[in-house]
C-alpha cells in the first residue's frame, strides 16, 4: 500500500492553504469534458488522433514530392512549393506524427503497466497536449498565409534561416512552433519520469518494469536533456530575427556552424527519442506473440540505456562534411560505430525471444517482424554512414534519405502501427479484423520497400537531396519512377490500415479481456479501461506481472481484496480534479505565439512608439498564460475520492463518459 500512502499529497495533520477555485469542471461527456480532462487515457487518445491526422498531412506532402520527382524536369510543383513540401514533410512526420503517437502510448499504456491510476501531474499532462497542439498549429499556419509554410528544411540551417536570407514569417512560425513543441515534450517527459519513479505499484521494482516502460523512462530522459540544446538554438535564431542579434548573422561575425552543433546535439538524441519507444513496443509484442518472456531482459534494458547515453556522443556524424577536422571526424565515426553494438544486441535478443517460442502471426506480430527486418537494413546503412570518408559521398544525397526512412518508417512507424493494433482491444474493446490488418501490412511493406530501396542507389549515383528536379541524363529516371509508384502503394496501405482502424473503432468485433494472453499488467484491466484504471492497486510479484497473476489467481485475489478494503477505508479511490487551466494556459501561449511569430511589425508611421498590434497581442497572450498558471496553482490538487459499485461502475456516476465507443 506504499504507493497509495506516498500519493497522499498532504502530510498528516497539515492545514492546506485555502484553494481559490473559480470553477471545478466535472463534465464527463461532451466537448467540455475533453477540454478539461486530466485522464491520461483521454490525453493519450487526443495525442493519437492528432498524430494520425498529421500522418495524413505529412503523407500528402510526401506524395506531392514523389509526383514532382517521378519524371525528370517536372513542373508539377514550383521550386518554392517543393521546398515547403520537403520541409513540412520532415517537420510534420518527426514532431507531429511519431512523437505524438509515441506520447499517446506513453500516456495510455505506461501508467497501466506500472499499476498507477494516472501520471504524477495530471494537469501538466493535459497542458503538454494542448501546448503540443498549439505548436502543431503554429508550424502549419504558413500554409494559409502569404508568407508560406516553412521552407528551409526540417534542420533549418543558418544562415539560410536568418532574416537576411529568409525574411518572411515562414521561418518565424517554424521557430516558434518548434519551440512550443519542445515545451510540450519537456513537460510531458518530466511528468513521465516522476510517474515511473514514484507511482509504481507495490512490488514493481525497476527490474520488473515492462520494457516499454523502461523505454518511456529513457526517452523522457533524452527529451529533457536534449531539448534544451534546440531551445537555445531557436531562442538565438529568434533573437537574430526579431531583435537583430548576431548569433548567426555572418556579416557581423555570426557562426553558422554553431547552429549545426546546437541543432544536432538535440537532433541526434531526437532520433533515439523516435526509435526507443518503438523498440519498447516491439519488446512487448514479440514476447506476447511468441508466448515466451523477452530474451535477455536486463541486457535489453541496459542496451536501451546505452543507446540513450551514447546518443549524446555522436551528433557530429551529421556534420562530417562541415569541415570539423580529422580528429573530430574520427572521434564521432568511432562513437557512431560503437552505438551500433547495443542496437545490434537488441536485435539478437529479439530473435532469441522468438527462438523456441510458439509464434502466432497476428497483425501486430507481422508489423513487429517487419520491424526487425527493416530496422536491420536501416541499421546497416547507418553503419555505412558511420565510415566518415564514405559518408562524404553519401551525405546530402538520397542514400541518407533511404537510411532514415528505413529506420523511421521500417522502424518507428511499423512499431507504432503494430502497437495500435496490439493495444486496440485494451483501449477500445474491439479487435481489428485479421484479413484487413494483414492486407494493410503487405501493402505497406511492399510499398515502403519499393519507395525507399531504390533511393540507396540514387544516392550512390550522385543524386542530392532537397532538389526539386533533376536532368534526365543522370541515370536517375527509373529509380525515381519506381520510388514514386511505391509511394502510392504505401499510401494505399496506410489508407487501408486507417480505414480499418476507424471502422473497427465503431463496429469492430468485440473482444474479451486479454485477447492475446499477454504478460504485462495493463492486460489485467477490462476493456475499455475504466476511468480509475485498477479496482485495487495490484501487488507485483515478478517481471511480466500479469503472467504471474494469471498463474497465481488465488493469491492475487486475496491481495486485491485487502488492497481494495484498505483503499476504501482510506477514503476511496483517489482521483485528480479536472481543470480548464491547462487549456487556457496553452491558449494564452497560442495568442502570444501569434503575436511573436505571425504578426508584422507595426508601421512606425501609424504606431511611432513602443506599442503596436504585435506587442499588444504578444503581451495579451502572455497575460492570459500567466493568469491561467496562477489560478492553476491556486485551485488546489487534493482531487476527489470515488467509491465503486460491485460491477466496477463509479458510485454516483451514470456510467457514461470515458474515451472509447459506447
Amino acid at each position: 500500500m506504499e504507493a497509495i500512502a506516498k500519493s497522499d499529497f498532504l502530510a498528516k495533520g497539515a492545514q492546506p492553504a485555502k484553494p481559490v477555485v473559480l470553477w471545478r469542471p466535472e463534465a464527463k461527456t461532451g466537448p467540455m469534458s475533453w477540454l478539461t480532462t486530466v485522464d491520461h487515457k483521454r490525453i493519450g487518445f487526443l495525442y493519437g488522433i492528432s498524430g494520425i491526422f498529421f500522418l495524413l498531412v505529412g503523407g500528402i506532402e510526401a506524395l506531392l514530392i514523389r509526383v514532382q520527382l517521378a519524371v525528370p524536369n517536372n513542373s508539377f510543383l514550383t521550386s518554392a512549393q517543393y521546398s515547403e513540401m520537403f520541409t513540412m514533410h520532415g517537420t510534420t512526420m518527426i514532431f507531429l506524427v511519431v512523437m505524438p503517437i509515441g506520447a499517446a502510448f506513453f500516456n495510455f499504456v505506461m501508467p497501466l503497466q506500472i499499476g498507477a491510476r494516472d501520471v504524477a501531474f495530471p494537469r501538466l499532462n493535459a497542458f503538454s497536449f494542448w501546448t503540443f497542439l498549439v505548436g502543431a498549429i503554429i508550424v502549419n499556419l504558413g500554409w494559409f498565409m502569404k508568407a508560406g509554410a516553412p521552407d528551409a528544411g526540417w534542420v533549418g540551417y543558418t544562415p539560410l534561416t536568418t532574416r537576411t536570407f529568409t525574411p518572411t514569417h515562414a521561418i518565424d512560425m517554424w521557430v516558434m512552433g518548434l519551440q512550443l513543441l519542445g515545451v510540450a515534450s519537456i513537460a510531458a517527459a518530466l511528468n513521465f519520469i516522476v510517474t515511473i519513479i514514484n507511482l509504481r505499484a507495490p512490488g514493481m521494482t525497476m527490474m520488473r518494469l515492462p520494457v516499454f516502460t523502461w523505454m518511456t523512462l529513457f526517452t523522457s530522459f533524452l527529451i529533457i536533456l536534449s531539448f534544451p540544446a534546440i531551445t537555445i538554438a531557436l531562442v538565438e535564431l529568434m533573437m537574430d530575427r526579431l531583435f537583430g542579434t548576431n548569433f548567426f548573422e555572418v556579416s557581423n561575425g555570426g557562426l553558422p556552424i554553431l547552429w549545426q552543433h546546437l541543432f544536432w546535439i538535440f537532433g541526434h538524441p531526437e532520433v533515439y527519442i523516435l526509435i526507443l519507444p518503438a523498440m519498447g513496443i516491439i519488446s512487448e509484442i514479440l514476447p506476447t506473440f511468441s508466448r515466451k518472456p523477452l530474451f535477455g531482459y536486463p541486457i535489453v534494458v541496459f542496451s536501451g540505456a546505452s543507446i540513450g547515453l551514447l546518443g549524446f556522443g555522436v551528433w557530429s556524424h551529421h556534420m562530417f562534411t562541415s569541415g570539423l577536422g580529422t580528429v573530430a571526424n574520427a572521434a564521432f565515426a568511432l562513437m557512431t560505430m560503437a552505438i551500433a553494438v547495443p542496437t545490434g544486441v537488441k536485435i539478437f535478443n529479439w530473435i532469441g525471444t522468438l527462438w523456441g517460442g510458439h509464434l502466432t502471426m497476428r497483425t501486430p506480430m507481422m508489423f513487429a517482424l517487419g520491424f526487425l527486418w527493416m530496422f536491420m537494413i536501416g541499421g546497416f546503412s547507418g553503419i555505412m554512414h558511420a565510415a566518415a570518408p564514405a559518408d562524404l559521398q553519401q551525405h546530402g544525397s538520397y542514400f541518407i534519405v533511404a537510411h532514415f526512412h528505413y529506420v523511421l518508417i521500417g522502424g518507428s512507424l511499423f512499431a507504432l502501427l503494430a502497437g495500435i493494433q496490439y493495444w486496440f482491444p485494451l483501449m477500445f474493446g474491439r479487435k481489428v479484423d485479421e484479413f484487413w490488418g494483414k492486407t494493410s501490412f503487405w501493402l505497406i511493406f511492399v510499398g515502403f520497400n519499393t519507395t525507399f530501396f531504390p533511393m540507396h542507389f540514387l544516392g550512390l549515383e550522385g543524386m542530392p537531396r532537397r532538389t526539386y528536379t533533376y536532368d534526365g541524363n543522370m541515370g536517375w529516371n527509373l529509380g525515381n519512377l519506381i520510388s514514386s509508384v511505391g509511394a502510392f502503394i504505401l499510401a494505399i496501405g496506410i489508407g487501408v490500415y486507417l480505414v480499418t482502424a476507424v471502422y473497427t473503432y465503431f463496429r469492430g468485433a468485440r473482444t474479451t479481456r486479454d485477447p492475446w494472453d499477454a504478460r504485462t499488467l495493463e492486460w489485467s484491466l477490462p476493456n475499455p479501461v475504466p476511468e480509475y484504471n485498477f479496482r485495487a492497486i495490484p501487488t507485483v510479484h515478478a517481471r511480466d506481472g500479469w503472467w504471474y497473476e494469471k498463474r497465481h489467481s488465488a493469491e492475487v485475489a486475496k491481495e486485491a481484496e485487502e488492497h481494495a478494503k484498505a483503499e476504501d477505508a482510506h477514503g476511496g479511490i483517489h482521483m485528480p480534479f479536472q481543470s480548464i487551466y491547462p487549456f487556457l494556459a496553452s491558449l494564452g501561449i497560442f495568442i502570444g505565439a501569434i503575436g511573436t511569430a505571425v504578426l508584422d511589425r507595426a508601421d512606425p508611421a501609424l504606431y511611432p512608439g513602443f506599442w503596436g498590434p504585435k506587442i499588444a497581442v504578444t503581451l495579451a497572450g502572455g497575460a492570459i498564460m500567466f493568469v491561467s498558471v496562477v489560478l492553476w496553482s491556486l485551485e488546489g490538487c487534493e482531487g476527489t475520492h470515488i467509491h465503486l459499485n460491485d460491477d466496477g461502475s463509479v458510485k454516483g456516476e451514470d456510467g457514461r463518459g470515458g474515451y472509447g465507443p459506447h
Binding site: 557562426l255 515466451k292 530474451f295 522468438l354 510458439h358 565510415a387 564514405a390 519499393t450 542530392p464
Partner: protein, 421 residues
C-alpha cells in the same frame, strides 16, 4: 486465401520473399555509371572512399546473412501450428543466455573494428593532400554563391587592360567550370559569400561544405584527363537543385595551353577589310522556344564530353565582327557590366555574377544548368526568371534596372558572349 489466418506456409513465405526481393531487384536495374555516379571513381580520393564503402558493404552483408538466417529460421521453425496455440500451454520460458549475449557482443565489436581501421585511415587521407605530394599540389579556391560556383586560381596571374589602355595583371577568376591539371593533386579551398553550399564532384571525391566564416577545404586528383559533373549538395535556397558545375581535367600541356588562353583579356574579333564597311549582318536565325523546366542539355556530352569541351574552345565559324562589336557596347549599356567582369572591357568590373572573360569557351552557363550554345544562351538572357527560380540576375539585375532587350539586342549580346573564347 493467402492473407487469412489459416496456415499456408509455402505460399506466404513465397509472397514475402518475392515482395522483398522484387522491390530490391527492381532497383538493381540501374545504370551505375551515370555522370555523377560514385561507383565510377576517377581519382584516388573517390576510389578510397568507394573502397571503404565496399568494406562496409561486405561486413554488413555477412551480418545480414548470419542474422537474417537466424531470424528467418526462427520465423519459420517456431510458428504455432494452429489457432489453438494462442491459449495453449506456452513453451519453455527461457529468460536468456549470458554466454550467447557476450559472444554476440564480442562478434559485433570485432566486425566494427574491421570497418574502423580503414575508416580512420580514410579520414586522414581525404582531409588533405598526402604529405609526399603536397609540394606539387595545385591550388584553387571555389566560392559558393546563390546559385553558382566561382573558381579562383590564386597562383596564376591574368591580364586586363587598364583605363589608359595598358596591359596590367589581374587575378584569374572563372565560374561554372573548374579546369585542373590531370594527374596532379588539386587543393580546393572552399568559401561562400552567402549561405552554406557544398562542393561535390562524385567521380573525384566526396563533398565538403562551404560554410560562411569557416576555412574549409578538400583535395581532388583526376587520374586521367576527363570531364566530370558536379552539383551543390547542401540546400541553399530556391535554385539549389540547379546549382551545378563541371570539372575538366587536362593533361599538363593542354592545361598550360588553357592557362595561356585564359590569361589573355577578352578576345576581340576584328572586322576584316572586306566586311569592315558594312554594318552588322541581319540575323535570320530564330532561337528555340523552351518550356519552363525543360532540360538544358543535349546529347552532345553523352559520348565524349572532353572532346565536346575541346570543340567549345574553338571560335564559331560564322562570327560577325560588327554584331559582336555591337554586343560589346550593349554589354555595358544594358548594365551587364555592373555585375559581370570581362577583363578588357572597360567598366566591366562587377563581381556579383560570374566572371565572363572567356565565357564562350565554357560548356555550360547559368550555374552549370544549361549547355552553352546560342539557343540556351538566348533562353537565359531573354527570361532568366523562367530558367532558375529566384535567380539574382533577374531579381537584382533585370527587375530593378528595368532591363529590356530587343531581339536585335539579344542577337548582338549572344554573338559577343559566344565570341569570348
Amino acid at each position: 486465401m493467402l492473407l487469412s489466418n489459416r496456415p499456408n506456409r509455402p505460399a506466404r513465405w513465397a509472397l514475402a520473399a518475392a515482395a522483398l526481393a522484387g522491390s530490391c531487384l527492381l532497383s538493381g536495374c540501374f545504370w551505375l555509371d551515370g555522370p555523377q555516379s560514385t561507383f565510377d571513381p576517377n581519382g584516388p580520393v573517390a576510389r578510397a572512399q568507394l573502397d571503404l564503402f565496399y568494406v562496409t558493404c561486405w561486413v554488413t552483408l555477412v551480418i545480414f546473412v548470419l542474422v537474417g538466417s537466424a531470424l528467418a529460421y526462427a520465423m519459420i521453425r517456431f510458428r504455432a501450428r494452429s489457432d489453438d496455440d494462442m491459449h495453449a500451454e506456452p513453451p519453455e520460458q527461457h529468460h536468456g543466455n549470458p554466454l550467447v549475449e557476450v559472444s554476440l557482443i564480442a562478434a559485433s565489436v570485432f566486425s566494427l573494428v574491421i570497418i574502423a581501421i580503414p575508416t580512420l585511415k580514410g579520414i586522414w587521407f581525404s582531409y588533405d593532400v598526402p604529405e609526399a605530394e603536397r609540394a606539387g599540389a595545385y591550388e584553387v579556391t571555389a566560392t559558393g554563391y546563390q546559385w553558382w560556383f566561382k573558381f579562383d586560381y590564386p597562383n596564376e596571374t591574368a591580364q586586363t587592360i587598364d583605363p589608359t589602355g595598358k596591359l596590367v595583371s589581374a587575378p584569374l577568376t572563372t565560374g561554372n567550370e573548374l579546369v585542373i591539371p590531370a594527374g596532379r593533386p588539386v587543393h580546393v579551398n572552399l568559401r561562400t559569400v552567402d549561405v552554406i553550399h557544398s562542393f561535390w564532384v562524385p567521380k573525384l571525391a566526396g563533398k565538403v561544405d562551404m560554410v560562411p566564416n569557416r576555412a574549409n577545404s578538400l583535395w581532388i586528383k583526376a587520374d586521367r584527363p576527363g570531364y566530370f559533373w558536379g552539383q551543390c549538395a547542401e540546400f541553399c535556397g530556391e535554385s539549389h537543385a540547379v546549382m551545378r558545375f563541371r570539372v575538366i581535367a587536362l593533361s599538363p600541356r593542354e592545361f598550360n595551353d588553357w592557362l595561356d588562353s585564359q590569361m589573355a583579356p577578352a578576345r576581340r574579333v576584328l572586322a576584316t577589310a572586306a566586311s569592315g564597311a558594312a554594318g552588322p549582318k541581319a540575323h535570320f536565325a530564330a532561337y528555340r522556344e523552351f518550356s519552363r523546366n525543360e532540360a538544358g542539355y543535349t546529347d552532345r556530352f553523352a559520348v565524349s564530353p572532353l572532346d565536346a569541351w575541346r570543340q567549345q574552345q574553338m571560335p564559331d565559324s560564322d562570327e560577325d565582327p560588327a554584331l559582336i562589336a555591337k554586343g560589346r557596347e550593349l554589354f555595358t549599356a544594358k548594365t551587364c557590366a555592373s555585375c559581370h567582369t570581362i577583363r578588357g572591357v572597360e567598366g566591366a568590373v562587377g563581381v556579383q555574377g560570374p566572371e565572363l572573360t572567356h565565357v564562350g569557351a565554357r560548356t555550360t552557363i547559368a550555374g552549370g544548368l544549361l549547355e552553352n550554345n546560342r539557343d540556351e544562351l538566348h533562353r537565359w538572357i531573354h527570361a532568366p526568371n523562367e530558367v532558375k527560380p529566384g535567380n539574382k540576375m533577374w531579381v537584382n539585375g533585370y527587375v530593378p534596372n528595368n532591363i529590356r532587350l530587343t531581339s536585335a539586342d539579344e542577337d548582338a549580346l549572344i554573338a559577343f558572349l559566344e565570341s569570348l573564347k
